[in-house]
Amino acid sequence: MAGGTRGGEAITMVSHDAHAHAAPQGFIRKYIFSLDHKVIGIQYFFLALVAVLTGMFLSLLMRIHLVWPNAHLPIFGDIKPETYLSLLTMHGTIMVFFVLTTAPQGGFGNYFLPIQIGAPDMAFPVLNMLSFWTTFLGFLVLVAAFFVTGGAPLHGWTGYAPLSALPSAGPGEGLGADLWIISIAIFCIGALMGALNFITTTLDMRAKGMTLMRMPLTCWAWFITAILGLLAFGVLLSAGILLLMDRQLGTSFFVPLGTVNGVLTGHKGGSPLLWQHLFWFFGHPEVYIAILPAMGLCSQLLSVFSRKPIFGYKAMVYAIMAIGFLGFMVWGHHMFMSGMSPYSAFAFSIMTMGIGVPSAIKTFNWLGTLWRGKIRFSSPMLFAIGFVSLFVVGGISGPFLAQPVLDIYLHETYFVIAHFHLIMGVASIFGIFAATYYWFPKMFGRMMNETWAKAHFWLTFVGAYAIFMPMHYYGMAAGLRRYSQGTEVAWINALAPIQKFISIAAFITIASQFIFVINLFWSMKKGEKAADNPWEATTLEWITATPPPHDNFGGVTPVVHNGPYEYSVPGAPRDFVMQTDAEVGAKKH
C-alpha cells in the first residue's frame, strides 16, 4: 500500500536504499536483539509499562502506610518507617527514569521520529539496540536493590549526600544504595546512546522537503529532549561515579568530617552541596526531558483533533528551544534553602521565572489552537486537553516555588510534591496515554476500545486532581514531604484528614488504570482493524501501511511538500492536507 495513492491523490515518494538494512529473519534477531527502531520502540514501551506498574504498586503501599501505619499486608508484611522511605526512593527513581524518560522518548520517539521525518530507521540501529538493552539492565539492577540485605536505599530519588554516601547512615544505605547508583549510571549510558542517535537522525535523515521548520512539533520535542539528555546525563554519570567512589574507595567528594551516631565516618573535606549542584544540573533538564515530548505530542493532537493548524508553530519551536536552553541555568532553584549563597538565589530565581515564560507561551498557543477549531473528542484528544489543564495547574505553582521568599516556607512541603506530580508526573503520563491511544492503531494495526478509553480518561482526570490538588493545601499548612507518618508533629497530625482523602482517591485512580492495561492487551488481539489513517492526520506515519513495513515506507522515501499542520485549508478537497500532498498555495497568516 505504501507509495501508492490515497484519497485519490498521488503521494510522491522516491526509492532509496541508504541506511536500510535487510529485514531480519529468526525470532531472536527480529524480536529480541532487533535493530528495527519500531521493535525497539515497542520494547521501550513495554519496559516502561512494567516500570510504571511497579512504581504504581509502590505508591499504593506508601499510601496505605500513610493512612494505616500499622496495617499488616499480605506477603509484604509490615511497613516500617525505613520501608516507607525505600518505597519512596524506588518509586521516584523508577518513575522518573524508567517511565517518564523511557516511554515518551525511548518508546514513542524511537518508533515515530524516523517515520515522521521520512527515514527508514534510526541513524545507528546497533546503538539503538544497545541503548535499549542497557536501559533494561539498569532496570534489573535497580529492582535488585529490593532483594539485597538491608533492602532498597532510603535517600530519595535525589540521593542527597552524605545520606547516600554513608552506609552507616541508615538501613538500605549499604548494597542497596550501591545498586541504586550503579543502576543510574547504567541508565545514563543507555540514555546517552539514545540521545546521540535521536539527534543524528533528526539532523541527517530527514526526507526531501522535510526542512526543520516543516517537522512536526513532536519531532522538535524529541530532538530538543535528546539534546538535553546528551548534555545532562553525562554530568549525572560523573556525579554517580564520584558518589560510588566515596562509598567504595573512601574518597570524600561529598562527605565532610563528621560522625554518624558518634562514630567518625573516616571522611573529611568534602562538600554535600557539590552533590546537589551536580545532581540538579542534571535534574532540572531531566524534568524537561520528561515533559517536552508530551508537550510536542499534545501540540500535535490539539491541532489534529481541532482540525486546525497549530497556533504559532514558530513560537512553539522557539519556546521549546528557549526551555531547553534556559533549562541548564536554573538548577539552583532546588537549592534556595541548601546553604548556597543567597546572592546566587537571586540569579537562579530570575532565570527560573524566565523559563516560566516559554511554558506560558505554549499554554496560550494551545488555547489558541482550540479557539475557533472544530473539536473531535476522541480519546487521544481528551487526554491532550487533560494535559493542558494539568500543565496549567502544575505550572502555576512553579512561580511560587521559584521565589526564594516563598520557597523558605514551601520547600520540602507537599506543595512541591503537588507541583511536580501534576506538571511532570501526571501531565507527562497524560502525554503517554494520549500517545498510546493515538498511535496504537499504527503500532498494532487495531483500534483501542474507545468506550473504555473514555472511561479511563474521566476516572484518571478527576482522580489525578483529587489526589494532587489537596496536596497544595497540605503543603500550605506546612505538611512536610518524606514523612513516613504525620503523627509525631502536631501541626502535621492535624492534617491527617487530607492524607486520608488523598489515599482513597489514589486507590480509586490506581484501580482505574487497569482499564487501560486491559484495554491495551485486549485491543491488541481483538480490537477493530485500523485503517491506515484513522484520525485523518497529515504527518508521514499516516501515509504508510499499518503497521509500517520493516523500512517504514516500503523501499521508497517520501517527498514532503507541506508543513505538518495543514488542516481545514480553504479550497482543499478534504479538511486535511498530507505533508506529501501537492504544496498548499500561498499561506496567509
Binding site: A10, T12, M13, V14, S15, H16, D17, A18, L35, A119, A123, F124, V126, L127, M129, L130, L192, A195, L196, I199, T200, T201, L203, D204, M205, R206, A207, K208, G209, M210, T211, L230, L231, F233, G234, V235, L237, S238, A239, I241, L242, M245, L249, G250, T251, S252, F253, G266, H267, K268, G269, G270, S271, L274, H277, L278, F281, T557, V559, A582
Partner: protein
C-alpha cells in the same frame, strides 16, 4: 509533482545533512560533547575541592613531572600517528593505515603503562585512597602519606581525573584495535586481559581494572556479530576524532593535576 523522480542513488532522497557530513561523524561529535560534560563535571568537582581546601598540597617531585611529561610526549606522538593513519585511509593505503593505527595503539599503550606504573608507585608510597588495599613490603613516603591523610581531596581528585582519562585511553586503544584488525583483535584483547589480570598483584587496582578489557571484548564481539563490516576511511576519521579528544582532555589534566601540584622549591 516536480521532484517526484529522484535518482535511485542516495543522498539526494534526504534533506542536505548538517555541514554536509555523514552521520557517524555527527554522532562522534555529539558523543564528544557529552563526554566533555562528563569530564567537565569531574573538573568542576576538582575545582570545588581545590578552592574549598586552604592548603592544597604540591607534593609532586621532578620524578613524577618528568614521567608525566614523557607520557604527554607519547600522547602527542600518538596524535601525529593518528593523523597519518587518517591520511593513509584517505589514500586507500590499507597497509599504511593498519600500521599507523598500530603505532597509535602502541603510543597509547605506552602512555597507559607509564601511567599505571606511576599510580602503583604513588600508591605504594602512601598517596592512596583509604579503601585501596595496603601494598605489602614497600617504604611509605612520609610526605605522601601525610598528604593523603590531611587532604584526602588530593588523592581523590588525582585518581578520579587520571583514572577516568586512563579508562578513555584504554577504550580508545580497543576502538582503534577493532578498526585496525576487526575480529582478529578480539583474541588479542582477551590475551591482554589475561596478562593484565594475572600479571598484577591482587592489591593493585589494575588487578580489577583489567576486567574493563574483558567487558570491552564482550561488547566488541556483540557489535562485530551484529554488524560485521570492513571499516573504511570514514571510520578511521571518526576514530581519530575520539583519539584527539582524549589527547585534548589530557592537556587539561596534565597542567591541573600535575603541573599545578608540582613541588616548588
Amino acid at each position: 509533482m516536480a521532484d517526484s523522480v529522484v535518482p535511485h542513488d542516495i543522498p539526494s532522497v534526504y534533506e542536505p545533512s548538517l555541514f554536509g557530513t555523514y552521520s557517524k561523524k555527527i554522532g562522534m561529535w555529539l558523543f564528544l560533547m557529552s563526554d566533555s560534560l562528563t569530564f567537565g563535571a569531574l573538573l568542576y568537582a576538582y575545582s570545588y575541592g581545590r578552592i574549598s581546601t586552604p592548603n592544597w598540597p604540591t607534593p609532586f617531585h621532578s620524578e613524577s613531572i618528568v614521567n608525566a611529561t614523557i607520557m604527554t610526549a607519547f600522547l602527542l606522538t600518538s596524535s601525529l600517528t593518528m593523523v597519518l593513519a587518517v591520511r593513509a585511509s584517505v589514500q586507500k593505503d590499507a597497509k599504511a593505515q593498519t600500521l599507523w593505527l598500530l603505532a597509535t595503539i602502541a603510543c597509547g599503550a605506552g602512555f597507559v603503562i607509564l601511567h599505571g606504573m606511576e599510580w602503583s608507585k604513588l600508591i605504594a608510597e602512601g598517596m592512596t585512597l583509604p579503601f585501596f588495599p595496603p601494598v605489602p613490603g614497600h617504604e611509605v613516603s612520609a610526605e605522601f602519606a601525610s598528604v593523603a591523610k590531611t587532604v584526602p581531596q588530593f588523592p581523590s581528585t588525582f585518581f578520579t581525573l587520571t583514572g577516568m582519562h586512563m579508562l578513555h585511553v584504554t577504550l580508545g586503544i580497543v576502538y582503534l584495535g577493532v578498526v585496525a584488525l576487526r575480529k582478529k583483535f578480539i583474541p588479542i584483547l582477551l590475551a591482554l586481559w589475561l596478562i593484565a589480570w594475572l600479571g598484577t598483584p591482587s592489591y593493585s587496582p589494575f588487578h580489577y581494572g583489567a576486567h574493563v578489557l574483558l567487558a570491552a571484548a564482550i561488547v566488541c564481539a556483540i557489535i562485530l556479530w551484529l554488524k560485521p563490516k570492513v571499516y573504511d576511511a570514514s571510520d578511521v576519521e571518526v576514530a581519530g576524532l575520539y583519539w584527539h579528544f582524549v589527547d585534548l582532555v589530557w592537556m587539561f589534566i596534565f597542567p591541573l593535576v600535575y603541573l599545578m601540584s608540582a613541588r616548588i622549591l
